[in-house]
Amino acid sequence: MTDVIDAHDLRKQFASRGGPIEAVRGVSFAVSEGEIFGFLGPNGAGKTTTLRMLTTLLPIDSGSATVAGLDVAREPENVRKRIGYVSQLGGADDLATGRENLQLQGRLYGRENDYVAARVDELLTLLDLSSFADRRVKTYSGGQRRRLDVGLGIVHGPEVLFLDEPTTGLDPQNRANLWEHLRRLRERGTTILLTTHYLEEADALCDRVMIIDHGEIVAEGSPRELKREVVGDSVVLRVAEEGDGHERARALLTTAPFVSSVTQADDDQLRCYVEDGASALPELLRLLDSQRVGLRSISLSEPTLDDVFLAKTGRSLRDGGPAAREEVTA
């Protein structure tokens, strides 16, 4: 397989009142033909900035990138012909119909009327937009509008499609529906690069995921590989008694041989990573019981991409930011 996107040490700084902000600090990665590749990270991680550099919308400060075999900085015009981009805003004309939006977009790619008309019909069918293609876009629901946005991005049959937070604001049903459409596009040979801050989206949709935080790559691989990397399962427990029970439990677990790491998950919760939950749980209970540490609750879960993020950054992606209070590694 050939690399359709190849990025080397991409960097971007923005000026601000408090001095320059390094939005992207040396990001390198490659995406193969026909992959769905996801940037996963919290808001402000540098996902959109990276995407905008790759799509010619933002000059690259340093580093280089090729898309569809073309250098983004040197041949922006030719890159534009071969990529599609759907921004967070979409940007369809509200007052025009879906069909009119698609037709104009197709013509702006330099295609002739006949070609565009046929292609638009094809897209309307592909994206289930036919029944309201001639209604004004302002009457569309969120899911319908998002599918139209995708249509605007692929009207010229691009090799690579870039999507910035494609399902933000959609309900779960519409989200799953859009995933289905994106998978269908991939089957037709389109390489897809998307940004998301939804763990489920990265997990369910992407072949490979790059986790990005503070402008740097934290981890990269298939969702399965990444989850395997954090070794095993996580056990979340809450200690029942007042006083030093919590501290004693943490001290015990930190030194226990079958626990690979312990983090403070919430105010009164401890999260331990264990290699194999099913065998570690009884040992863990025995250990705590032997030292007379009572429990209010205990739960075992298979790792999620959030665990990967937590293990790599010490923060949870779900609450989007504040650093975990403490981290103890065995």
């Binding site: 990529i83 921004s87 805003l89 369809a92 702006l108």
Partner: protein
């Protein structure tokens, strides 16, 4: 070729958008119409400017006012399209960058000329004497000025990026520019310091030329003075706007 094709596509789009949300067209056209209807009667009884041919002097100035208004309003559309993601959607296509700027401008120019014709038609019904040759030359000046102000307005919109600062700039300029141009009453009846100040206002040259061309007078210097000011002005503002546009949407 590509520039012309892309400009035509985007001009058509802007025109359709205007037709589908005609409230702005209505506002744009009703302002000069209201001036004609509600200000002309006052002028009739004022010495120096009044008299029976009052429309011959006043209507051309209103056309100049419309050019100012049509031009400076263009940036509002730019800000809306920036915020709605429309500009970005077009930028990732291989569309000519200059066409992205020119498409809406050409559409705005078309609307202005249509309104000019309507105003002349209405004026003629109430006694305005139509001098075709003079009005054709005036049309060139109106177009130059409208495009200059549109270029300025779009560039300001791209620099300010949000509606309140942009509106502050445009509204802040509006009144001094109008008062110092002699749109409502000619500057020639004012004191000397006003006449001096007016010479720094490009709209003044357009209004003065319009009053003269409106009655079919080509001599007297007003017309060539207007060309001498407005041609470089258009060159400067459009070059500047293109540069701002290229930098903002490279």
């Amino acid at each position: 070729m590509k520039l012309a094709r892309d400009t035509a596509l985007l001009c058509r789009r802007s025109t359709l958008e205007n037709l589908r949300n005609p409230v702005w067209l209505f506002v744009g056209f009703s302002t000069p119409l209201l001036y004609l209807a509600l200000f002309t009667p006052l002028l009739k009884n004022i010495p120096y400017v009044g008299g029976t041919d009052v429309l011959d002097h006043f209507l051309p100035a209103i056309l100049a006012l419309l050019a100012w208004g049509s031009g400076t309003a263009m940036g509002f559309g730019t800000i809306f399209e920036l915020q709605a993601g429309v500009v970005e959607r077009f930028r990732v296509t291989p569309t000519s960058r200059l066409a992205l700027l020119l498409g809406p401008l050409v559409s705005g120019l078309g609307w202005m000329f249509l309104f000019d014709l309507l105003l002349i038609g209405v004026g003629a019904a109430f006694g305005f004497h139509v001098h075709v040759a003079g009005l054709l030359v005036l049309g060139v000046l109106l177009g130059l000025f409208m495009l200059s102000m549109a270029g300025f307005s779009v560039a300001m919109a791209l620099l300010t990026k949000e509606i309140s600062s942009f509106a502050a700039v445009i509204n802040g300029l509006n009144l001094p520019v109008l008062l110092l141009a002699g749109v409502l009453l000619p500057i020639s009846i004012g004191p000397d310091w006003m006449k001096v100040l007016a010479h720094f206002n490009p709209l003044y040259y357009l209004v003065t030329a319009a009053r003269s061309l409106g009655v079919g007078t080509f001599s007297g210097g007003a017309t060539w003075q207007a060309f001498a000011v407005l041609v470089p002005l258009a060159a400067i503002t459009l070059t500047w706007a293109t540069r701002v546009y290229r930098r903002a949407v490279a």
